[in-house]
């Protein structure tokens, strides 16, 4: 049970951090909200305030929940295998989260 939990949360956290970093760096497939017009669009016009945070954030949280559930559901049956994978997944999750946070800080500070 413990190893299964660590495996599932390791998968969920790694998947969420990867989605966050991917959508933040590439903006690929990100839906923008135009707060002044109360509209959603895939390609915001220039000179208009456009918010990508909703799409990036909701995608990150949705992937975290879905990946954690899926990993719990289809976790390896053998606890030792689960523990071994959890031991690999969590360091990668922390690394990806730190990378995401560091990239975000540098991107925001460098923004004109």
């Amino acid at each position: 049970m413990s190893a299964r939990g660590r495996f599932a949360t390791g998968v969920g956290t790694l998947a969420a951090a990867t989605v966050y970093l991917f959508t933040t760096t590439t903006r690929a497939g990100v839906l923008y909200y135009l707060p002044a017009r109360a509209e959603w669009t895939w390609s915001p016009p220039t000179g208009v305030i456009a918010m990508d945070w909703f799409a990036r954030s909701h995608a990150t949280l949705a992937v975290a929940a879905a990946a954690t559930w899926a990993a719990w559901r289809w976790a390896p049956a053998e606890p030792k295998t689960c523990a071994r994978w959890a031991g690999r997944l969590w360091p990668m999750s922390w690394l990806m989260l730190a990378w995401s946070a560091g990239y975000t800080a540098l991107w925001l500070c460098a923004r004109p």
Partner: protein, 147 residues
């Protein structure tokens, strides 16, 4: 305008509850790591933190567009750019904390409370530090035009 103000106040109240729950969570998990577990609180605080996180996130999402247009674009970008950057940093960090809050809930149900894993210790500590950073950042940004 009334609903936006109400949303902001409720957002702040929920953020206060979130800060309290994650701080207590970090304390009880580290205490358990040192041999003094409290199974009831170790399961209660993550669930409370998740509820508060969802409330803070939902209310923040509801008032964010108004902030983006009426506060940031019309005032902060010109007069206090540092506050605009700090706010965006806070919003993005809040997103990254979500998976860790969820992980803390799952781990609190799956693990033996007497032997919290390094993953649980890391989640509890990172979430507490991140939420404190966000709470202080939110207070600083909100205070730019008040005092």
């Amino acid at each position: 305008m009334f609903w936006i103000k109400l949303g902001l106040v409720l957002h702040a109240v929920a953020a206060g509850a979130l800060t309290g729950s994650v701080t207590h969570l970090a304390l009880v998990v580290w205490r358990a790591h040192r041999g003094r577990p409290n199974p009831r609180l170790q399961r209660l605080y993550p669930a409370v933190a998740l509820g508060c996180y969802l409330a803070v996130y939902s209310l923040g999402s509801a008032i964010y567009p108004r902030y983006r247009v009426a506060v940031r674009a019309e005032w902060l970008d010109e007069h206090a750019a540092w506050a605009a950057v700090l706010f965006d940093l806070k919003e993005n960090l809040a997103t990254l904390l979500g998976p860790l809050v969820l992980a803390a809930v799952v781990l609190s149900r799956a693990e033996d409370p007497a032997r919290p894993s390094r993953a649980m210790l890391g989640c509890a500590t990172a979430v507490a530090l991140g939420v404190w950073f966000n709470a202080v950042s939110g207070l600083l940004v909100a205070s730019v035009r008040s005092v």
